[in-house]
Amino acid sequence: MAKEGSGSILQFAPFQSSVDEGFWHRLSSLKLNKFGIDDSPIPISGFFAPCSHPQVSNYLTLLAESLPSDSNEESSIPAFNRGNRNRCSVPGILYNTNTMESFHGLDKQGLLKAEAKKIWEDIHSGKVLEDSAVLSRFLLISFADLKKWSFHYWFAFPALILDPPATLVDLRPASQWFTLEEAESVSTACNEWRNSSVTADVPFILVSVGSDSRAAVRHLKDWETCQDDGQKLLFAFYDPCHLPNNPGWALRNFLAFICARWNLKTVHFLCYRENRGFADLSLSLVGEALITISQGWREHQCVPNAVGWELNKGRKVPRCINLAKSMDPTRLAISAADLNLKLMRWRALPSLNLDILFSIKCLLLGAGTLGCQVARMLMAWGVRKITLVDNGRVAMSNPLRQSLYTLDDCLSGGDFKATAAVRSLQRIFPAVVAEGVVMAIPMPGHPVSSQEENSVLEDCRRLNDLIGSHDVIFLLTDTRESRWLPTLLCANTNKITITAALGFDSFLVMRHGPGPFNSTPDLKVEMPNSLSAVMDNLALTNTDGKQRLGCYFCNDVVAPTDSTSNRTLDQQCTVTRPGLAPIASALAVELLVGILHHPYGIFAEAEIANSNNGGSSELPLGILPHQIRGSLPHFQQMTLVGHSSNSCTACCCTVVSEYRKRGMQFILQAINHPTFLEDLTGLTELMRSANTFQLDWDDEIEDADDECIEL
């Protein structure tokens, strides 16, 4: 029974906050689009509901709808309606600062006091009787770091302190306090109240039970009419807390209101809780509290002290949440790109090796029509490391055919292609690791003066370094000569090399065969792990007499009679049918992916379309040809094989060993003396003997032979 001072101090379970991701999304959007650096306080709404589970408390939740709408954002969510029984709305205020320092520098005591004052005013002005939810007014401070997508925040649930604190005389489950009949009636009345959209979200109510055991639920403002004798009157509130021995925080201000407004010293309260949507009187608690009013409470002007800053796992520190994974556009782009490839692997190509695609480093020599397309295709396949080499600037005609450039790149004389291309790649996919090198590729048969010699040698060395530090080299330049040096350097180090060359209406895409020497000391260091492992096993492949596949220059030498196709290739001519470059570039990249998935990689033998060799054509990506030659006028494409030539000016044994012996001096000699390479390889001899035949041939073929000699 109630005795003065016989009870213990009434302890309330604090509100717990839960912030839905959508709240931060909208706050970021508002900050970026509407508020800018304006940090005035923002009125917000919190939502809570009575406890609905015996073991879990409910939270005060913030959702996207808690914030004012962002007019730029398409409002795809139906407007929040009052009367939602699961979302009782509570007013709050948000102080969002612009810097971490100002976040920590906020006067937290002052802010808490200000909110407590609002509650106090609402109590005395009668606002609580109109809209009782204001008793649970709350405060939120935050700092949104929109570069890192992390949000620092801290809730406060201001509670007016009763001094001395209220004492608890009795607390028990409601089902034990009411009679059976009363309990049933109370449940029914509460369920009705909760099911009506007019009253469902009114969180502070009166529950009266008459002597006939009939219960009624009323608004607070009807208190005067509930003063009949013989009636049990309970001050009820929606209690999100589930604990059996403690009422929820909302009761604090409710008690403060009751004693300030109606001067009661004994209060019977009902912590209203539910289970799966229905009133649960064994979970709900009925208690009796004793309140002593201090003198100060009569004076309206004197605002009581307040407590209420939320603890973070028991500590008085703010909380922090990082949403980079779901908000940072770069991360989202990366995961979307990964998703695409993974889907491909899941549905169509289980043996797709995404690791190798993500880790491989590609060097693109040339950032023109071919270079731009190859770069894009590589990114589509998941390649992330791309280096482009080009010494040219973007010209006004380029954007039409060179898919990485726009008009802006052409202005003021034009940006360097290599740099503009890298910029463009990064705009398409921010996670790409792209580098641009502005450099000319030294070419044989184009002699240089002695002043230029050093810089040319420097370029040679630089090219050698670039080739050494990449796994795949694409030869995408517009002259034949510019392909010579890279071919030699790649043959020397057994790098995967892919050439694409365009004629006016025909193209060639091919993979170079391995170089004449299989083992190089640098090989294992430069190749990605899986390739080097394969290499280890294949050291002897080409020493058993099988011919290795040829390079771009091998072809020319071994096909002196195939003059028509030679004529259309690579005539220092940059006029081509626009459709060719995208086709050739796409094939070049698909060819690369084929090589990467072939167990023998660069050593893979050539396959021709429509062949009947059962074994290797069962590879999931299909056959792996050596050369693909296409002709637009015929809408036709052929796969061909060309083996290496012992007199090849770029990749034959003689040339490569000479390079290994004499290095840059050898290169310089080739650059400065047009006939040097032919003499070295014995080509001169070969052509001389071919020329003696010429006398019997037609004029047409004579012209073609001349072109064969050109390098």
């Binding site: 101090i9 009434l10 302890q11 309330f12 379970a13 604090p14 717990q16 906050s17 839960s18 912030v19 839905d20 991701e21 959508g22 709240f23 999304h25 589970h53 879990v56 939270y59 913030l62 398409e74 795809s76 969510i77 139906p78 920590h104 937290k108 005591q109 620092h152 509670a159 302190i161 009763l162 604190p165 209220a166 604990l243 403690n246 604090r252 799966r276 407590v307 209420g308 800053w309 603890l311 973070n312 796992k313 028991g314 500590r315 008085k316 520190v317 703010p318 909380r319 922090c320 949440i321 949403l323 994974k325 779901s326 989202l332 995961s335 998703l339 993974k342 889907l343 899941w346 549905r347």
Partner: protein
């Protein structure tokens, strides 16, 4: 009227809507132990929106974010505040069923978060999914969880990719030895059957009462 052997495993938007409403109704009436599904119409978008469910998943995992910051000097606790030392971290999971016009099948979207609102990442979710309790890769033949933008809420959610759905729906109905069902029956039971299959991946089970109720 198409017969069931020519059926491609998909369902029309109209049939989806009918099926969804009936599903939600049955769930609520037969399954009061679980939170109800609700139909959320979305007038501005071509997609039909979805029922929504909250399921508590009790798990004693480590609490999430570590906050480093200065602590306050003021005494913010008074005697009337209950300080709880025990803190069970709970994970919540929201499920949406959305109709996909591209694939013409229902798609299950899900999102998980901690009690304070922090979203859970896929690897954290996968730890709790029954399909991943073994050491198998989470990518089984039919279940591929991907992160994609929710078509209605415009935020990243996780979904069970629908490209295998029509195939396994065909198998479900035609693979058995119960003879050839009528197409109307198939479409009526579509959502229920679909849910019984995909629900397993994410640990949602249909109570027997619903499966047996053929009204």
């Amino acid at each position: 009227m198409m017969d069931v052997f020519n059926w491609d495993g998909t369902v029309s938007a109209k049939d989806f809507r009918i099926g969804a409403l009936s599903f939600a109704q049955k769930w609520e009436s037969l399954n009061s132990a679980f939170p109800p599904w609700s139909w959320v119409p979305c007038p501005k978008h071509p997609w039909l929106a979805s029922p929504e469910v909250d399921i508590d998943q009790n798990s004693q995992t480590d609490p999430g974010e570590e906050e480093t910051s200065c602590s306050e000097k003021e005494d913010d606790i008074d005697d009337a505040t209950l300080v709880q030392s025990n803190h069970h971290e709970l994970h919540y999971c929201d499920f949406h069923i959305v109709y996909s016009y591209t694939f013409r099948v229902p798609v299950l979207y899900l999102r998980a978060y901690c009690s304070d609102g922090r979203p859970l990442l896929l690897d954290e979710i996968e730890k709790e999914l029954p399909a991943c309790s073994s050491k198998e890769s989470p990518e089984t033949k039919w279940a591929f969880i991907t992160q994609e933008e929710h078509p209605y809420l415009k935020r990243p959610w996780y979904k069970l990719h629908p490209c295998g759905t029509s195939e396994f729906m065909k198998l479900l109905f035609l693979g058995g030895d119960t003879g050839q069902p009528k197409l109307e029956v198939v479409l009526e039971l579509y959502l229920l059957s679909w849910f019984s299959a995909v629900g397993q991946v994410v640990g949602l089970r249909i109570p027997c009462k619903m499966l047996n109720d053929r009204r």
